[in-house]
Symmetry: C2
Subunit: 126 residues, 2 copies
DNA sequence: CAGCATCCAAGAAGATACTG
DNA sequence: CAGTATCTTCTTGGATGCTG
């Protein structure tokens, strides 16, 4: 290809103008993280994700999936059937982020007892 | 101690009622992640963090620091001086989350060129 | 300097109804 | 089933002014 690709340096999350902040926002959004973790177990349909991720609305699930698709983390495959079927899966990049994201999620889940203990102590101390 | 400690099982982020969602929210909040990463390089004063984290307001910095302190990730030490000086650092738990969080942040920064390329391709195809 | 209180705007999120 | 469109509600976040 002959197009003159721009520098494409690495991002800097500490700089307010850097586009990497957008990506971070999508990945760490309320539902983005849970979607990425859920998709680690394989391809899922829209309604499967909806059931798996307790509390998410149709609208936010669709929107967040579109964000993640736009960043190249999620692959959306639509089958021309009736009734319609759409399957979501992770791209290679998606697998990589989801590893980092899952590591964080699992750690937080495992750490919960400590947080609760800290909170109780603070509550008692007033 | 004689207090009957409750089960304190691990959290489940997929359950909407689980308190671990709160912790996740604090850690992955707009500024929470950047604060944790910034504090990995050692103790910082309030104003230092403010300068380091481009775009954060005083209010949100203070609020997010309080969240992280409440979860036991950040230690706040106030010196009784004039003018006042307050120093923030990571607790042991804070060091552990920050490792996961930093891994994610660094990966996203490094991955930015790919995201930008994907976006351009979609824009052209658009 | 650190940070709280107040007010206000912007955006996220939910409920509902509708479409291919 | 897998969404979109619309409306409404709530939360996030920023600006400002004030205090110890």
């Amino acid at each position: 290809m002959s197009d003159i690709t721009p520098p494409a340096r690495c991002g800097d999350l500490f700089a307010s103008g850097c586009p990497s902040r957008e990506v971070l926002k999508h990945v760490t959004s309320r539902w983005g993280l849970l979607i990425l973790v859920a998709l680690r177990m394989g391809t899922h349909r829209f309604s499967e994700l909806r059931r798996r991720i307790d509390g998410v609305s149709e609208k936010m699930l669709a929107q967040t999936l579109q964000w993640l698709e736009g960043d190249g983390f999620v692959l959306r495959v639509s089958y021309p059937e009736v009734p319609p079927r759409v399957e979501y899966s992770l791209t290679d990049a998606g697998i990589e982020v989801s590893e980092r994201v899952a590591a964080l999620a699992l750690w937080i889940e495992a750490d919960l007892p400590r947080v609760l203990a800290v909170r109780r102590r603070q509550h008692e101390a007033g």
